[in-house]
């Protein structure tokens, strides 16, 4: 269903822009750091981009496990297989710089997707969610649902500490809470995997649910596990704002166990990233005055967008994301590229 809607989105994007180019020899590889549901939208995004822009291919290639070495080995094998454009979620913001530089050294185009490399690197840019901003806005939504933050106690469930985005999220939640007079009484990190998330979130809520007014989650798996935990507890007193678009989470929003979720735009990243990679291979260059944003890792950041979806928006969340993708795509070439 989701894929069909995204496909429709894509068709409408192409219809809007009329940007179907001639056949190209661009072979795009979309490579996440490892298996994770967040990235699955890249697969359809690549297929759609290949079809819409006439690319030789745009394939989703997943390292079999979350290991920097496994990702490096996969990327090296993809060069051998003739891929000449790489959209990579860095296994490590610093450790992946070397392999990306080597990929570019083979004549390929490379960009960081969904997560950034630490400057300097040969990646043309980084396109992903402004994670700090997303966490900040999500926390504000949570505190608003609690009737204001003064004196409220919230907990934060988040991803792996070795992911640079995690620190940004922790700081952003802390900032939004302190600005509203709320207190982050616990941050539980390193739980963006089912087993540790189940263990730690359930244990925490079993012992401290009475002390908690709200939950903010800033990683996919903790959001799903926390939503399930609140459903089991059955107490809608605790408000929660999650992240991403897992069906479990969306249903929990509909049923009132979760206040809402901060949507990201992985499809837009893969689709627009593939488009940009092909354009760059055809001779376009990055504009000298391209309005890149800055974050903690890079000065070449493009925000792929984020939006809050509460109970009133959750049924129509794809439209919200369509809107963001469409807006970004419409102006992407004129804003960032010299062709």
């Amino acid at each position: 269903m989701f894929r069909k809607i995204l496909f429709g989105t894509c068709i409408s994007l192409v219809a809007f822009t009329g940007t179907v180019s001639a056949d190209s020899d661009t072979k795009v590889a979309l490579v996440p750091g490892g298996p994770h549901p967040y990235f699955t939208a890249w697969e359809q995004a690549g297929k759609d981009a290949a079809k819409d822009f006439g690319l030789a291919s745009a394939d989703y290639k997943v390292p079999q496990k979350w290991e920097l070495g496994a990702q490096n080995q996969l990327l090296e094998s993809l060069v051998t297989q003739g891929y000449n454009a790489f959209l990579v979620f860095p296994g490590d913001p610093v450790g992946t710089v070397g392999i990306v530089d080597e990929l570019v050294g083979t004549g390929a185009v490379a960009m960081a997707l969904a997560g950034c490399l630490r400057d300097p690197s040969e990646a043309v840019f980084c396109m992903g969610t402004d994670t700090g901003n997303s966490a900040y806005l999500g926390t504000q939504e949570l505190l608003e649902s609690l009737g204001g933050g003064e004196g409220k106690k919230i907990v934060h469930f988040t991803g792996f500490l070795v992911d640079a985005n995690t620190k940004l999220r922790i700081d952003a939640v802390e900032q939004a809470a302190s600005e509203a007079g709320a207190e982050v009484i616990q941050v539980i990190a390193d739980i963006d995997a089912p087993e540790p998330a189940e263990e730690k979130i359930n244990a925490y809520l079993a012992a401290h649910a009475d002390e908690v007014d709200g939950i903010i989650t800033t990683a996919w798996v903790p959001a799903v596990v926390a939503a399930n935990a609140l459903r089991k507890i059955g107490d809608k007193r605790i408000k929660m704002v999650g992240i991403d678009h897992d069906e479990v989470l969306l249903q929990a929003v509909k049923d009132g166990f979760v206040h809402g979720t901060m949507l990201q735009n992985p499809y837009g990243q893969g689709y627009i990233g593939s488009f940009a990679a092909d354009k760059l291979r055809q001779g376009c260059t990055i504009k000298a005055d391209a309005p890149f944003k800055s974050n903690a890792l890079t000065d070449k950041f493009i925000d792929s967008g984020t939006v809050f979806a509460g109970v009133d928006e959750v049924d129509d969340y794809v439209t919200s994301m369509q809107s963001i993708t469409k807006t970004l795509f419409e102006s992407f070439e004129s804003t960032y590229l010299d062709c």
Partner: protein, 355 residues
């Protein structure tokens, strides 16, 4: 492979690098050597490497390209050293689960020495390896003093070492490293050979000489085969345990520093959470290569070939575009096939009175 089902006892292998078989009556020296060669794990692994190389070269375009060969050699270089770091402990009858953790600690220590302390790269490397030796020796001391199995001790120190490293570095990385050091990991000799592979071969030769020709090496093998007998014969088994763990620390450190040179930065996540990403390559090389888990026998060449075979299979499967989630399954099936082929080889030799 031996290992793949050998019934030899550890004591039969004390102090040797190759399988010893009783000479058949009347057979000549040359025939004996040929038999020994055909029976060796090293020959079996080499044959498998050649067979799979030919298969991959035929069915996967690009397998023999210079980039592919370079990348495969560079990956194998690190995996082989990781295998060595486990092998030197397995020889003693123990295990070292903290190889990855030590490797990252050494890498981060080297990064700190080069970037923050301003050491030239060669002093940074020496200092970092000294750190590896100390950390490894600490494992050995704890094992000797407590009398607990190395599995327990190194399981605990794996977390301790990694935790201390994360605390000291605040999960930060070092990337302002001397250019000549970083260039080394990306250099190509004749467009194909990584200098890291040469480092690995040099380390392998040193280890082979150590086990074959030095008293310390032979004592280590003897202590691993039968600690009580070794103790009675005057060998200080506790010292050999500390020695082998110190060596393991140095070797893990070499692997860590090779990765730093290859990635251009020292990063806490280079071996995964707690260094666990290294455990599989650490065991695969030695076990496939003929190092007995019960101790007393080491095969440097076998470990090298075993680790290379795994790297070769992984690369070949990736190039075959086997679905990402099937790579591990196919790798396991191929390794099982490798075991069975080795058994068939032995069976064939036996049936034809070649052994």
């Amino acid at each position: 492979m031996n290992n793949f089902g050998s019934t030899q006892s550890p004591s039969q292998d004390v102090g040797i690098l190759d399988d010893e078989t009783s000479p058949a009556p009347g057979s000549g020296r040359l025939t004996q050597q040929l038999r020994r060669l055909l029976l060796s794990n090293e020959f079996g692994l080499l044959a498998l490497i050649i067979i799979f190389s030919i298969i991959f070269a035929i069915v996967t375009p690009g397998f023999t390209s210079s980039f592919s060969l370079f990348a495969m050699g560079r990956t194998a270089a690190v995996n082989i050293i990781i295998g060595f770091s486990m092998m030197v402990v397995i020889v003693s009858g123990g295990l070292n689960l903290s190889v990855g953790s030590i490797g990252v600690c050494v890498a981060m220590g080297g990064g700190w020495l080069m970037q923050v302390a301003g050491f030239p790269w060669y002093l940074g490397v020496v200092g970092a390896l000294a750190l590896g030796a100390m950390i490894g020796a600490l494992n050995g001391v704890l094992i000797v003093k407590t009398g607990l199995h190395s599995f327990i001790i190194t399981l605990a120190t794996m977390s301790i070492f990694f935790g201390v490293m994360i605390f000291l570095t605040q999960a930060g990385s070092f990337r302002e490293l001397p250019p000549e050091y970083v260039t080394f990991g990306r250099m190509k000799i004749n467009g194909v050979v990584s200098p890291l592979l040469i480092v690995t071969l040099v380390v392998g030769v040193i280890l082979a000489v150590f086990f074959k020709l030095t008293t310390a090496g032979r004592r280590l093998l003897a202590a691993g085969a039968n600690p009580d007998a070794a103790e009675l014969s005057g060998i200080r088994v506790d010292r050999t345990i500390i020695l082998c763990h110190a060596m393991s620390g140095v070797l893990a450190g070499i692997a860590g520093l090779m990765l730093v040179s290859r990635t251009g930065a020292a990063i806490p996540s280079m071996a995964g959470q707690l260094g666990q990403d290294w455990l599989l390559p650490a065991f695969l090389g030695p076990v496939l290569g003929g190092t007995l888990l019960t101790g007393g026998r080491a095969s440097v060449l076998g470990t090298l070939l075993g680790a290379f075979l795994v790297t070769l299979l992984t690369t070949g499967l990736l190039l075959l575009q086997v679905g990402a989630f099937w790579v591990q399954t196919c790798l396991g099936l191929l390794l099982l096939a490798a075991v069975l082929i080795d058994l068939l080889r032995r069976s064939y030799l036996a049936r034809h009175n070649l052994i």
